[in-house]
Symmetry: C2
Subunit: 468 residues, 2 copies
């Protein structure tokens, strides 16, 4: 079982840092048990490893102060956004200080002419989109959960819109970062593109707090499209649905979303959201553009779906119908968990070249059936990324061991197909051995970079970088 191993604690350093930080931060410094437990706890299935204290900084200067104290005493620093990580990112295996960004939640600037904005890391994506709406702008990345933008940047998040708008990697223009030495740096200018040296923005995005703490984010924005339409269509098999997806992408239809739900997910969503979708593999789509263009896209797609045996094709530009459908999709995680209320969902996150998607999803489903698991499957299939969610009784060691074996088997399968063990959740604690399987010698370069940037390993230790 790849579990969250405890790491050696620097007790002397921790005691010293706690003393200094308590002095410096007063009320913003918290050590109560329940608050510490909350900050180790996420939606992950990994065990909770709590920090020694939680601090709520108000600005970059305070973050830098915290990191400087921790650097002096060689104490771990763990960034925290909304706690929606699925891979143990906020666990504190060696103790240390959790830096909760909740109170750094200001939208600092919106440059509507340049289609960008500058936000603090605690701003959530819903908060940003509500703020932008009046200006006719939106930020497209949508991982489902109302995550913080700092956390989304740190884990290179994506979600349902990535097929059209890319991931956080493609939508962060620049970052302000507090380095492991407590210095404040800016990784790039606000220019739309640049060839100015190493892409530190890209290096920080997805570094999971192991190279520094993100204190400000410059994001690309999009104009709210003139029109949106959404569509749904059912298929006899996952294979047929995937074929339709491939053809849609190859034809260059600029779908904004193209999501797969397997039969079990559809059943879960119907029950949870009180819908009556046909109980068969389902594709949900969204199209963005001019009124003509979204109609044309929906109809082109309808034709492709029919070719691959799609049935019950419907499309609409009604905002109400659209929102209902996408709310149901976003609730799929909770709808799935409700299929076995006392169990824990273990979300897998493989992403494969789209030509191998049907084969990979089918193999996963067969194996889950053979194991007797209740395990709905949803997928951001335009990117080749899908999640299975085996619902596991964590008090049953045999079941847990079988689930763990399944996760490993699926990661290996995806890697063997030229894919990755994580499309969007990150490596965190649990996937470190698979990172090595996936990238081999390249991980040595990651280790070298980590050691150079954070020689005392104080930034989020036990994440990404494999144990020796």
């Amino acid at each position: 079982m790849v579990q969250a191993t405890d790491l050696p604690r620097n007790e002397i350093g921790i005691t010293a840092a706690l003393g200094v930080l308590k002095q410096q931060f007063g009320e913003k410094f918290q050590t109560g048990n329940s608050i510490r437990e909350q900050h180790g706890h996420t939606t992950t299935w990994l065990k909770n490893q709590i920090p020694d204290a939680v601090i709520f900084p108000q600005n970059t200067g305070e973050v830098a102060e915290i990191v400087k104290v921790c650097a002096t005493h060689k104490v771990p620093v763990i960034g925290y956004g909304t706690g929606t990580s699925l891979e143990g990112h906020v666990n504190a295996p060696a103790g240390g200080i959790c830096v909760d960004m909740t109170e750094m939640n200001e939208i600092l600037a919106v440059h509507s002419e340049d289609l960008d904005c500058v936000v603090q890391p605690g701003v959530t994506r819903e908060q940003l989109n509500v703020y932008l709406r009046d200006q006719g702008l939106f930020f497209p990345i949508d991982p489902g959960a109302n995550a913080s933008l700092g956390g989304m940047a740190a884990t290179r998040a994506s979600g349902t819109n990535a097929v059209r708008y890319g991931t956080m990697k493609d939508n962060v223009l620049a970052l302000e970062v507090v380095t492991p030495q407590g210095e404040v740096i800016r990784t790039a200018s606000r220019a739309k593109k640049s060839s100015a040296g190493y892409d530190l923005t890209g290096l920080m995005v997805g570094s999971e707090g192991t190279l520094g703490l993100i204190t400000e984010i410059t994001l690309k924005l999009q104009g709210i499209p003139e029109a949106m339409s959404s569509a749904r269509v059912s298929f006899d098999s996952i294979g047929a649905a995937c074929e339709a997806v491939m053809m849609t992408i190859q034809c260059g239809i600029p779908v904004a979303r193209i999501e797969l739900l397997d039969t079990l997910s559809v059943q879960a969503v119907n029950a949870y959201s009180n819908l009556t979708l046909p109980e068969a593999p389902l594709l949900l789509l969204e199209f963005h553009g001019s009124e003509n263009s979204v109609a044309e896209q929906a109809e082109l797609f309808g034709g492709i779906a029919e070719e691959f045996g799609g049935t019950g094709f419907e499309w609409t530009t009604s905002a109400e119908d659209r929102n209902k459908l996408w709310q149901a999709r976003h609730d799929a995680y909770w709808a799935s968990c409700a299929l076995r209320p006392d169990a824990k969902g273990i979300s897998t996150d493989v992403c494969v070249p789209i030509s191998r998607l049907a084969e990979c999803v089918n193999a996963a489903q067969e194996r889950l059936d053979a194991l007797g698991f209740i395990a709905p499957i949803v997928g951001h299939v335009g990117d080749g990324n899908f999640h299975t969610l085996p619902l596991i009784d964590m008090d049953n060691p045999e079941e847990v061991a079988k689930a763990d074996e399944f996760v490993g088997w699926l990661n290996d399968l995806a890697i063997s197909m030229g894919g990755t063990c994580t499309g969007e959740h990150g490596i965190g604690q649990g996937k470190r051995p698979y990172l090595v399987k996936e990238l081999g010698g390249a991980v040595d370069m990651m280790v070298a970079i980590k050691s150079a940037v954070d020689p005392d390993n104080i930034m989020n230790p036990g994440k990404i970088i494999p144990e020796d």
Copy 2:
């Protein structure tokens, strides 16, 4: 004058490495004067610094062998593609071995279902697009020159299509790299997206050969659009043209290209390509999509152009007319050089937030006029990136000094506007001081990464990283 300073040579190491490599590579190992001079020579205005030998490897294994020998003897290794760099990237200020990738020019795989391909670094973009045409696919990044894809990745190149398709940063999925230790690593899988650890692909793209040699590139491809249209329109002033560009982007019209030529560039292009474009600031555009969509886009844009005083708006879907117009645009560099045949063009490359573009271009033009320079201006204005090309008599020290001062002034201006000193050409030798002005303390992190990955500084020394 920021010139190409010579760096100390490791004579003993170079002699030893030359002996071993000559033995190992036979005919592929060349030390003739003219071939060495050719390999230091590029379109740059910086002085030529020639390598001690040029090797033409056939495969990754041979590249790894070269690097291992150079690592053993601490001898510089400089990658070479087609020599179209404008910033002295292939100069050898401390001597060493130039690795010419010309013979590693195979297209290794095209995965049409996944819209990606795998190529060797010596494949040029035109070669790739000719190869892909029958499959209905294309690779969109187009820097004008028929550059090698390895060189384009190494410098984070972009060009006319970036406004729609992004830069090399957005279009490289994975790389095979020979590290400074001579190990072969793969930076990512073929999955469309991934959160698997640090983004080494992104780190290598734009690292200008200072962290390793790229030996294989996995690229995203696009389906050839069903239809393309191109358009042109003239304006009274650069400001009006820029306003029209801003409005076009804000309205979400998915332009594939939107290029500005100032009056002098139009005159140069008319003379060079035998055209009769109106002698006024000009926007050239291209639209990609369905037949309906490209017509709609062209007409929407026409309306916007009119609002800002655009005249002579014309659009066409004729491939012949389109190609003629874009060939003229691509020849603008040579057309400009022809305005003063014995002079050298010093291309600037600033990129600013689009809201500051008109101000920046106007200021540059005024200053160039005041200096009495012949200096056409073209711009990838959808991204806020533009090039001025002062044509300088390199034998006139006073003129050279004035040009150098202008370059510095313009870089400083762009940086003060929240922009960058290089949108797409890279830092190379000449822009190192501006990198520090632009990113300050972030450059320390670049230095730390460089030292960790290449502790002996053998990979393309004297580029990107500032002198102590």
